[in-house]
Symmetry: C2
Subunit: 406 residues, 2 copies
């Protein structure tokens, strides 16, 4: 191996995720994470080894690189895997091509045109239904027929590490008939994953489930911050708005669908049978271990949730087929959130709302303080990785601190 | 006047709206509509009369021009008004600067980053509530406290003139417990106006109502197509999705807020009193006459609705203050729909759903056919203009034909 890769690194030779980074001496450009390093793709391009217009690697977004299409991006990943493993490859003896991640600054990997959030975990939807509606009929009638989704705000999707302010807004106190204004008292995270599309469609075009994965470039971790008290008052009848659009965080490295191939698994059985346009063949779920930690200000992190992406009821192919069945067009760089990823066990729930069950079961932090929701000064960290034998492919983390309301 | 302007033109000397057009001999660029002509701003720039980097006028979108800020865009509009009226101005004797609208192709005036749709007509919200919920309590409890809004799809917003396919999707037949798939049977228009922001904010920043109009560059007509049957089945609990994102149309010319100044009027009294961040001073509604016509295939147009933008309960300043009160950031080129603009009279309702009252009062077309919703082959045309004495400022039209489902 050309470069040392620590054991258990998320960024193993099997991964090769893409991102945008900068250094003190050079502007944002494309790179891949390998171990603790970044392989500088703009610098590699100067060796004249790529057979495409490498200007796309010198941009501050991956959109144009991704838009080259999978035939090229897959080859780049394969070439890099090969070069990293061949002792006499073009990367050998060129330490200047590698930048320590600790010495680089990461940037948003793509310009997100449109952002859609789904609601595709049956455990999450059931928990929410039990809390807010009828425990005996927790799922709404449409839930098992439609991968329910809604549009979100693209402008406020930001990179891991950037702190956020607690949002302010209207809420309705229990029993009151007039709303009040102030900082949200029920700030929550949502453990999600997001996929990024790598191919455009035209308006009027639909993507069948068996072609959908050709349109997916890769995946990131996604924290879809939610202000539960604002949401409760505003969301009828047109859905969440200010409860969500103050910020969402993504992890910096886009893990390609190719890197996730070894971790395919079957999804849950779907009963009742879905409509034909939502039927699919093969294994379309992915076994990705997920965890969420909370680090109160000045205190150690406490892991509060361990979940897995494989629990999703609706898979990404179904989500994309549904999204486009009416002819809605998609673009390179669009982001699609999974919805909160909860499992069956109480410690696998993907939000504080569920973990602390509407505040009735507070969680205890390592410093002894309790949490019903997220407090000012808390840092929320999400991690994800797949593992099969010695093969590990991970996402790193998405992490952000909550500052007091402005 | 340097150029002849027909009486009653929407594009009078008082207007000067901005758009993007192309001709057979030159690529898309910025222009202003004047009478039946377009003044080619890229060509005017070659006369070296502007004191900013005129490269922004040669782009295929107005985003960078708008981003120069109102101090510049207002001066450009004033200069053009002056030059058009002075017989010996720099425009005199230069017919090559003017292109007939009939000989130009219009393009999307901006790249829309994010699109938000409000629901701000009390008459529309009341009508919908009467039809689908409780006629005695038609408005939901939050409606008079919040300018209710939700995020929509930016990618499928297209320019007037482009035909659309009838969307397909899941619907639930009356009394059934299993959905079916097929073309929407309840395709509807929504008569809306949209405003376009001209200034960015940072995440965490809020815009007070008395500064909101500084962030609004101008307005367009907006047809927010809706598939009522798809919406009914999908929208709980996260709002409309495929019922809306198959297409929305905007008119090509952005009418500036400056051009609309003479038409300010007071909005309806807001009771109960709104929260302080939604209070505002001055006249923030605009008197803009609106109409909708339906032209069945091969038949004359029938006007089915006459409404007015002044009816809006929530004004644009309140919408923008609300949108950003949680710190949500906005960008140049974002679009904000008003929601369906209905008035009190039955012929002022801004959608077929209301005009034909859920199909119970079909409208008769000029060819004798009836309409409960929009049929294949129908062209829907929306027009808008303000008038005060001799001063007329108009929007032209937004028009589109519905093709059969693919």
């Amino acid at each position: 191996m050309i470069i040392n890769i620590p054991d258990n690194s998320d960024f193993s030779i099997h991964n090769i995720p893409f991102g945008i980074f900068s250094t003190t001496d050079r502007a944002p450009r494309a790179g891949v994470a390998i171990g603790d390093h970044i392989l500088d793709l703009a610098a590699v391009a100067e060796l004249d080894v790529f057979e495409f217009n490498t200007a796309v690697l010198e941009k501050d977004t991956l959109n144009d690189f991704i838009a080259l299409g999978k035939s090229i991006t897959k080859k780049v990943r394969k070439d890099i895997q090969h070069w990293l493993q061949e002792e006499d490859s073009i990367l050998a003896g060129r330490p200047e091509l590698f930048v320590l991640q600790s010495e680089a600054q990461m940037h948003m990997p793509v310009i997100i045109g449109d952002y859609t959030d789904f609601y595709s975990s049956i455990e999450h939807a059931t928990n929410v239904g039990k809390m807010f509606r009828d425990p005996a009929n927790a799922l709404l009638p449409n839930w098992k027929h439609i991968p329910v989704g809604y549009h979100g705000r693209a402008s406020s999707i930001i990179l891991s590490g950037e702190p956020i302010y607690r949002p302010q807004g209207q809420t309705i106190p229990n029993g009151a008939d007039q709303p009040v204004f102030g900082p949200s008292q029920r700030l929550d995270f949502e453990l999600e994953m997001g996929f990024i599309t790598g191919k455009n469609t035209q308006l009027g075009e639909s993507i069948p489930t068996d072609e959908a994965e050709d349109y997916i470039f890769g995946m990131v971790l996604f924290n879809d911050w939610s202000a539960r008290d604002i949401q409760k008052w505003e969301y009828v009848p047109l859905g969440p708005f200010l409860a969500k659009n103050f910020a969402s965080h993504i992890s910096p490295w886009i893990v390609t669908l190719e890197a996730l191939e070894p971790f395919r698994v079957s999804g849950p059985e779907q009963q009742p049978k879905v409509l034909p346009y939502l039927e699919y063949n093969g294994e379309k779920n992915f076994d990705i271990n997920l965890e969420v930690g909370i680090a109160p200000e000045g205190s150690e992190e406490q892991v509060v949730c361990r979940s897995n992406f494989k629990y999703m009821y609706w898979n990404m192919a179904q989500q994309l087929a549904h999204h486009t069945v009416n002819g809605c067009n998609i673009n390179v760089g669009d982001l699609y959130g999974s919805g909160t990823i909860s499992g069956k066990d109480e410690d696998s729930y993907g939000s504080m709302l569920e973990l602390a069950w509407m505040g009735t079961k507070p969680l205890t932090m390592k410093d002894g303080t309790e949490r019903k929701f997220i407090q000012d000064g808390d840092t929320v960290i999400m991690r994800g990785h797949s593992q099969k034998g010695d093969v590990r492919v991970g996402f790193g983390e998405v992490s952000a601190k909550v500052l007091p309301a402005k």
